[in-house]
Symmetry: C2
Subunit: 433 residues, 2 copies
């Protein structure tokens, strides 16, 4: 570890991140990663990251802050994502009470504390308040990020106002359009509320979703949920670049928590939004099945052509190293473009999307296998952006993407993520004021 930079607070980058950096990322950094900055400089930048991302050795990521945690927080390795629907006949008071209860529970869960009276109620003829399976596992960098669906504001048919918050609906918040390769299943799409639980240990994330689900009883119920086991993006320069199930490095060009200016521009909702959403964001989730067996039969040449990057190092096919900018005008000896006109890296690049960037925070998943004996796996894509239109723009650009041959979008959701919660207040409190 670098000793030179004494201004770096000891709690700036996570232990995990540091290990990743030292273990795997040093060569890449030396060649030209993060714009040629040295390691000490990277760590110093890490220290300037968002409040919610602040972290310490006890594995606790603070729940309270200007923004919700779980967005710029260095991406934890495990996910349990859940979607909830308000029960028939639930009232505004029910919604407020739910948000108050979830806020109190989230603050405890993210500190690794037992809920309520814990494993042992005062009266043993009562159920325990905490289901107990995370007992002894500590906080594990658990973050809980809450989002509100479109129907919460205007009802399922878009014409009602079930909770008296219709006037708080931002005009940007429109349901996602249909995209060319959508094969969406209702059982894995939408919902009035979402909770993204990320942690180092899946048992911690599962415990959080399970207990939030219990707390919601009579007001909201779980409609679908998804486990993810391997992050497919880094959100901090202190992290190494992970691989997706196609075996390629993913998230190389992600917005990092150190890019304060880019976060303000592309991720955080600004001051002209309703108060409850300021400092918040929009969360898009897409369950993307990968036809892994077809992919695995394709040649290295085809795979690299699809992504526009090399498989081993993740460098653009125009040359250089992983973190170098792709040169879309570069040509092969044959005169063909070095990066195919329909390569993923080209179509998704800000240069092809009027400068649009989104913060990705997806996870690999495998749900077992399908009746054809194929692995039912893929990418549970999650992105955060200050305007849903940003995702729509990029996704439309991907229509000719070579990758579409190997993927199917089967689930989708869009939620508005309120700003961070201040101590003493509750989630989205300004929505009701």
């Amino acid at each position: 570890m670098p000793e030179k930079e004494s201004s770096v607070p000891p709690d700036a980058p996570t232990r995990r991140g540091l290990l990743g950096l030292v273990g795997a990322g040093v060569a890449g950094l030396a060649i030209g990663g993060v714009g040629g900055a040295g390691i000490a400089s990277v760590l110093a930048k890490g220290a300037a990251a968002d409040d919610a991302a602040a972290d310490s050795d006890d594995g606790i990521v603070t729940f309270y802050g200007a923004h919700q945690a779980g967005i710029t927080t260095p991406a934890q390795d495990r996910l349990h994502f859940a979607s909830f629907r308000m029960v028939e006949g639930a009232t505004r008071d029910d919604l407020i009470a739910l948000f108050k209860d979830w806020t109190a529970a989230a603050a405890k869960l993210t500190r690794g504390e037992e809920l309520g009276s814990g494993l042992e109620p005062d009266n043993s003829y009562l159920p325990p308040d905490d289901t107990g399976e995370a007992e002894g596992l500590h906080a594990g960098h658990l973050t809980l990020t809450f989002g509100l669906g479109h129907a919460l504001f205007v009802g399922e048919d878009g014409t009602t106002d079930p909770f008296g918050i219709k006037h708080q609906l931002p005009k940007q918040f429109e349901p996602l359009p249909n995209f060319a390769f959508d094969l969406l299943e209702g059982t894995q799409s939408g919902g009035d509320l979402c909770v993204q639980a990320c942690a180092d240990d899946p048992q911690i994330a599962v415990h959080a979703i399970r207990n939030l689900s219990r707390i919601a009883i009579g007001r909201a119920h779980l409609v679908w949920s998804q486990l993810g086991f391997g992050r497919t993006s880094s959100t901090s320069r202190s992290q190494d670049t992970p691989r997706n199930l196609f075996g390629f490095k993913d998230g190389t060009m992600n917005i990092m928590s150190e890019e304060t200016k880019a976060l303000s521009q592309h991720v955080w909702v600004g001051d002209n939004a309703p108060e409850w959403l300021r400092g918040g964001s929009y969360l898009v989730a897409r369950k993307i099945l990968m036809t892994l067996e077809s992919w695995d039969r394709s040649s290295l040449r085809e795979q690299e052509r699809v992504f526009g990057r090399t498989k081993r190092s993740g460098a653009p096919l125009s040359g250089g190293a992983e973190f170098d900018q792709p040169d879309f005008s570069a040509q092969q000896q044959s005169g063909d473009p070095a990066i195919d006109v329909a390569a993923h890296v080209r179509l998704a690049h800000p240069d092809n999307n009027e400068g649009t960037r989104i913060l990705r925070r997806g996870y690999n998943f495998v749900d077992g296998s399908n009746p054809l004996g194929q692995m039912g796996g893929g990418l549970f894509f999650i992105s955060f952006q200050s305007d849903p239109a940003a995702f729509v723009r990029v996704q439309k650009s991907l229509k000719p993407d070579l990758l579409n041959e190997y993927i199917r979008h089967v689930g989708s959701g869009l939620w508005a993520v309120p700003g961070g919660v201040k101590k003493g207040e509750f989630l989205a409190q300004a929505l009701f004021e």
Copy 2:
């Protein structure tokens, strides 16, 4: 870490196990765990464990040995379990070739090495030999444990000999009978071959199953698979006791890798078996759904009565600490037994099963949620025993188990696990000699 015991080899217990011991298990040990032995003594015992369980700081668990790894190996945290069926018309030569190919691949995978020509085939018009998603993740204590199903010996209808190995079928190897609470689904049961992949990182386990599945193409195909995220048993005294999704400590009375004599008696198949099975075992897998929402509504008193143990410490309701033997004759003040006559701990105990013990190695799972909005989670039970009759005896004893109110068995399988592979030989080689 204890400094006194200089005779302990540095590579005896895993780093993870040690951390668990120091972080969570010391109090329990001091009170009476592992028969009152001190930590140094535990570590020394750990060093005497099975070859296959031998481990070093590089995260490599040796594939070769007297027994297959993944049985007494300190239980890793993550599982990907897969079942395969031989394709229609596959021959004896196909089966032999598959076992040779799987053996070579398993040796490489467990060392964290890329398969074949790795990510980059010599000719880029070919697919890469290795799918690549575990690149950079190292060995991660991956173990691969292979098993052979009954139908492999006698065909699906029990009357044929598709691979010329019918004469090698041990007489103990009969399909499991139906049990009282079975609600088995064919899509999660049985199979000609099974592979249990355990590792520290699920991406490593998934990568292994995926690549073994690729290698099997044209000879065997995946029929079902299951991910597990939290181990529910310890298999070494160096590990802390984990919790199942009912929030209770599980595996307290498991056979530990340090119990060499008990392993010989209850886990390893002895010398009167066909040569290919000597030093092997029988693997039972049961996919057990838990009705978590019902459980969570039951009182602490009910939950503890069901298990016969306290929720927080795992101590038997007859008193003492977690590792103390339950006293089944102990009474409450009311005169009722302290441990209910139908408590799980009583019915599963060797005293109630003619001394039968099995080595458990199960995992928690959550597959998302079901159409009722309930979490589709539970226990993927795995046990190893020297005779399938041992599992059958215990499972039959559990018929009146209070736990049956809260669980459903939906998947089942039984496989014979050949002995360990010697260097230069291949899996189950003696089967074909």
